[in-house]
Symmetry: C2
Subunit: 557 residues, 2 copies
């Protein structure tokens, strides 16, 4: 019988809690810590080399705790291993510049991507890996369990129960992994209430400390797209998506990425979609943040349910008034949950549609470009065929049948397949071609010594490529050469597009592998902004009956 | 502006709660319902055609509520759509025979599989689909959201907070989906406590009603395997698994299925594994129920962490005393969570190893046999390549490199791959061959009019097949023919095995695609039961220092 200690994690937690009690004295009452004592609290509980999750979500940020962490003494706190889904705030990287943290596992670093690349190249940050969200949460329960979690909530009650409000996001996954492994959970809250919370999102006994923040936590309205900025090219592409993919496969359950391309689809459902008689036949169930662009479709009765990763600023009253569509608590506000919504996006959706910056001739695509390390968030999880899925739907069966037609052996065994659509204009900003012979990801992998190039969606998971020139259905391609010509065939006037073999491309078109707007019965002259159910932010507000209240920066009135 | 009601789900919940209050009168106090009033409660809140989740887990059962549901009047309650992961109790199927329920979406029906098949063939049950667990939970948030959930917990406090004890299992996923969509959550509890719960697993305001059950809820010790029943063939296969797969790929993070085959591996780690110098090099992190067979490896210091789908009867004190290894609450008992553990099995593990009843020449395997509809539980989720995964590990990179070596185009783009091992003796019980030309699943699909044959693990997801004859590495096969001969080459004296092309099989052996025990430096004469770190239940108890207390049925002392 081994007599080594087997409860060190619990004892370590007790020791840290005792240190906090001693350091804080009367500034600690139950689980509640005085705002001004936050630095002392963090110094008392954090040790060098700790694995720390500083809640950076897609939207909600534990910004007060981020600032407090960045203010610690690097003599006392150093070599932290940060494990958090999103790097959004400058403080998230300050930690590394200041010598507090050295290692990083994450999912997305949108606004900090360029600075992150610089710090990596300077050897200031050692990157463990870049994950898709659900993958990072999964590792919290296996080999990246946080010792310290610093999270954000809307309110706490006297006991320390937390109310996250509509942006629950990552909080339950982070807190569960930490609280049940001898870790310390510290929550910043916008307010402490005397009575009952509107609802309890996190039970008090999962929380070690609650600190009132001096100002409400930062939230980014990441999913708001002004309809005024949608172009007629995007309207044309949205028409092709609806008629050539959604209608063709009868897509009922889906996820849309962020962007004007997909906002255009959302705004075309009650107009163009209606004219095709598709209401009730497509787009009924969504795994999606509360996109304001979806308001007209919701109002027109297209949408039965939406489960959300997070919320969206300004949508609070609209969600409350449309609780049949959204997942809400008894208090009327949204209950989002990124872990479950990502699982839904992976396993319960028939289609994922997103965009990319570059795609190569194998159909591999990536938003990683030189000088930036951005990560891909949820795209790899939702933009991959869910091979563990076993429930059938007509959409999934049809895609699987197209993919397996004429194949033999294991590859020919009947099986459904998820539709994964990449929707991209042939040229992006500054006339950069979206189609390339070689992804920047390869150079990036060499520069940052990554074991694999950072590919967002792999070519063998992509089923359709949609550009202003048409749709390429990769499910029907039977060789690398066909796949290459199908991609060249929708790549327009990019060098890759100009390099097409015209005879082969016409052959693919004859076989329906490539479809032009005309092949779909779409006249590009019909693709005008008049088709958009809302053409401005004001239109969205009007469509919501005044319930949607966009943040100031989206208003010109 | 549409003036249709948009909060019907919330209003419907209020109406049902009001009906319950009226029907129960003084038998309802706060959220607490008198035990004897359960039938009246269910009649008050359940309506025909409701979608109902009756918590049938892998282990914990809401058996009291199951019996109560089965006792309802089919004139008042009928056409229920049951959405639950496991059909374990007779009552789960009684509902259909009694005319209360008509449609079923589920994951696993082990003990009820034969009766289920009978009811389906009689047209008494319409099966929506058979899911892997995480897939079913995902659909709870999209298009299979329960209106009514009937769950089981260990205890409730006066407010209605729930303590699930070690078998949290599916409860959080079920309750979250129901509580935040205008549904009704009813919990049976073993006790109601006056003071504080040992911990809160589910907050009170997610729960509509709490009913004390007249006896503790049923729990099945599903993961206990008596080492006395492990054969020397299984010891030999376990040696091959450890040396030929775990050591070869340096597998650190893994899941084991249920069975004597994998129990043998667990029991060989501190003996054979130790002799190979593998401690600390393999098997450090697990997504796994608390298998008693893992006790010797834990005691010998092999295991750093285990996250569990559910718990295992008799392991309570051992888990409490080994909290560094298991995820436990401040109360010391396990916090399991099937949703997160399945996510971990999918995204954070490098290897899944399981068994099957039948495998065909494409490598497709299934435990579905004629006259039984059993479902596959977690196997499809964990036994599929996680194509959304982006973090690299040496194991995953090595498997991916072997798989892509010499390939071109999208299929040749470098990418890691999960190891999916099927471990199976060439003949199963009653001398039925495990290798067949055609899976029973095909006939079953025709009989039950399923859209696809119920295949558990698809051939193109399997990487290794391990039998007593050797290991076939399918990653290295480059054609359907090679794959077929690799499978025949380890299929022993089954007709499929006898049908091998000896020359091709020897060629595959020369190339290392097939490895015999001798090729691995394993002498089958060394494969004795003496290698097992525990050879009986009593040995397991002894290894645990008396902390493991097996259920009576596993004891002969």
């Amino acid at each position: 019988m081994d007599h080594r200690p087997w409860n060190q994690r619990q004892q370590d937690r007790q020791a840290r809690l005792a240190r906090a009690a001693e350091a804080l004295g009367p500034r600690l009452s139950g689980r509640h810590v005085a705002t001004g004592a936050v630095t002392d609290l963090l110094h008392a509980v954090i040790e060098p080399h700790d694995r720390v999750c500083l809640e950076g979500n897609n939207q909600k940020q534990a910004d007060f705790l981020a600032q407090a962490l960045a203010s610690l003494d690097p003599e006392r706190v150093h070599h932290l291993h940060m494990v958090q889904s999103v790097l959004a705030l400058p403080e998230h990287l300050d930690l590394f510049e200041l010598g507090l943290a050295s290692r990083l596992d994450f999912s997305f670093s949108g606004p900090q991507g360029a600075r992150l690349a610089r710090l990596v190249s300077q050897g200031r940050i050692e990157i463990g890996a870049i994950h898709t969200y659900l993958e990072l949460f999964s590792r919290y329960f296996v080999d990246l369990t946080p010792k310290i979690s610093l999270v954000a909530a809307q309110a706490a009650d006297r006991h320390g129960n937390l109310y996250t409000g509509p942006n629950t996001e990552d909080t339950p996954a982070i807190v569960e992994a930490t609280a049940f492994s001898g870790g310390i959970v510290i929550a910043q809250v916008n307010e402490v209430v005397d009575g009952a919370l509107p609802r309890v999102d996190i039970p008090a006994d999962w929380v070690s400390f609650v600190v009132p923040a001096p100002r409400p936590n930062f939230i980014e309205p990441l999913f708001t797209r002004d309809p005024a900025q949608i172009s007629e090219i995007q309207v044309l592409m949205a028409m092709m998506a609806i008629k050539g993919i959604y209608a063709r496969y009868g897509v009922q359950r889906l996820n849309h990425g962020i962007g004007f391309d997909t906002a255009a689809i959302e705004l075309l459902l009650p107009t163009y979609g209606e004219s095709l008689g598709l209401k009730g036949k497509i787009c009924r169930h969504w795994a999606l943040n509360p996109h304001p662009a979806l308001i007209p479709a919701i109002e027109a009765g297209w949408v039965e349910s939406i489960h959300s990763f997070g919320s969206e600023l300004g949508m609070e009253d609209y969600i409350r008034a449309r609780s049949d569509v959204f997942f809400t608590g008894p208090d009327g506000s949204l209950r989002s949950n990124r872990a479950f919504s990502q699982a839904a996006g992976h396993y319960a959706c028939d289609l994922f549609i997103g965009s990319t910056l570059q795609m190569d001739l194998d159909g591999n695509s990536s938003t990683a470009t030189l000088g930036r390390i951005a990560g891909f968030g949820g795209a790899p999880n939702m933009g991959a065929d869910a091979r563990g899925r076993r429930h059938a739907s007509p959409t999934w069966l049809q895609a699987g049948e197209e993919s397996r037609r004429g194949r033999h052996g294991a590859a020919g065994t009947p099986r459904g397949q998820k539709l994964v659509v990449q929707m991209v204009e042939t040229f992006r900003e500054h006339m950069q071609p979206a189609f390339v012979e070689r992804l920047d990801a390869w150079t990036l992998a060499e520069q940052a010594r990554m074991p694999l190039p950072p590919i967002m969606i792999y070519g063998d998971d992509v089923t359709h490529i949609l550009t202003e020139e048409g749709i390429a259905n990769l499910l029907l391609c039977r060789s690398d050469e066909e796949r290459e010509q199908a991609i060249r065939g929708v790549a327009g006037y990019t060098p890759v597009g100009l390099g097409r073999d015209r005879r082969l491309v016409e052959n693919l078109r004859d076989r329906g592998v490539i479809q032009r707007p005309a092949d779909l019965g779409i006249d590009p002259r019909d693709a005008t902004r008049n088709l958009l159910a809302a053409r401005s932010m004001r239109d969205l507000v009007r469509a919501s009956g005044g319930l949607y209240r966009p943040p100031q920066r989206f208003r010109n009135w």
